[in-house]
């Protein structure tokens, strides 16, 4: 899902970059008061965990492969604003250090994976959490990554390199990630359930207790 340079028209890349900077600035402001000394290490560990987990390409027989992106996972664990900043950090390092995703399209990649996936995933989680956290986390990962893939497909489908074949890009990426997203949903739900049981104090609603502990 990391778009390389050359795929997206410059105007679209610039538009997405401006949008991403705007959303992340709001996120940074919103989150400012919430990052206690106890929460800062959690941000670091979740970001590092998401980076490491993204390197694991799950082989899927039939010639395709997917890796966990973790946007919804970070949103559930850290809250949406800190989750967005967390994923933006990961996506930026991937582009700068490893050339995974282009530099000109960095804003577009941040928009898809660190903003759309994070906020859509979080919204789905909040909406479904009353019906069971495990199911909600699964749906959040699944639909979050599909939403991110769809915005990527729109950026590509409106670009000249893809001959403006919007329907083709949306169909291939939308359907592809709707299927691969099941892996994302499963990992999100299983890891979240494990963490919630092992460390209930890490849950976002337990922030004050952690702070009191420290």
């Amino acid at each position: 899902m990391h778009i390389p340079d050359g795929y997206v028209d410059l105007s679209i890349a610039v538009f997405c970059a401006v949008l991403s900077v705007a959303v992340l600035s709001v996120a940074a402001r919103r989150v400012g008061g919430e990052v206690s000394d106890a929460r800062a290490p959690l941000l670091g560990v979740v970001a590092a965990g998401v980076f490491a987990a993204q390197m694991l390409n799950w082989p899927i027989p039939g010639g395709t492969s997917a890796h966990f992106v973790g946007g919804a996972f970070a949103a559930i664990l850290l809250g949406p604003h800190l989750g967005a900043l967390c994923l933006a950090t990961v996506v930026t390092i991937q582009a700068l250090v490893f050339g995974d995703g282009g530099l000109v399209v960095l804003g577009a990649n941040v928009f898809n994976m660190a903003i759309v996936e994070v906020y859509v995933g979080y919204a789905v989680y909040r909406l479904l959490a009353p019906y069971g956290e495990f199911r909600a986390a699964f749906a959040a990962g699944w639909l979050g990554i599909t939403a991110g893939a769809l915005t990527a497909a729109v950026q590509l489908g409106l670009s000249s390199a893809f001959e403006y074949q919007l329907l083709t890009t949306v169909a291939i990426m939308g359907v592809g990630h709707l299927v691969l997203g099941l892996v994302e949903g499963a990992i999100t739900a299983v890891v979240y359930r494990y963490l919630a049981r092992a460390r209930p104090d890490l849950r976002p609603d337990a922030v004050s207790e952690v702070a009191a502990d420290a």
């Binding site: 800062a40 560990v45 965990g49 027989p61 010639g63 900043l85 282009g102 893809f162 291939i172 592809g176």
Partner: protein, 99 residues
């Protein structure tokens, strides 16, 4: 130092050790993402430009084999991300103190 931190770091190291294993397995089935399939379907593949300025392009380390390169990339990337996010967390926290 919070008591869960050493455990978390051990988990991160375990994930980096898995990276070459998964890389090998994904290679066995032929790695292709929907993005690449869409590029092929519309003839965009040749328009992709690789980022030449990246120090470790494609998670490979010049002079190291594929498995070792992937592992070193995973360790370097995970450590850098940890550091960057910790700094970000401190900056955001400092903002909170200033308010």
């Amino acid at each position: 130092m919070r008591e869960w931190l050493p455990k978390a770091l051990a988990l991160l190291l375990a994930l980096t050790l898995l990276a070459p294993v998964f890389g090998w397995a994904a290679g066995q089935v032929g790695y292709a993402e929907p993005l690449e399939n869409a590029a092929e379907a519309t003839g965009a593949t040749d328009d992709a430009e690789s980022t030449v300025s990246a120090p470790l392009p494609d998670y490979a380390v010049p002079g190291l084999g594929s498995a070792m390169g992937t592992f070193v990339s995973a360790v370097v990337g995970t450590a850098l991300t940890l550091l960057a996010a910790l700094v970000l967390g401190r900056l955001l926290g400092a903002d909170a103190d200033a308010d």
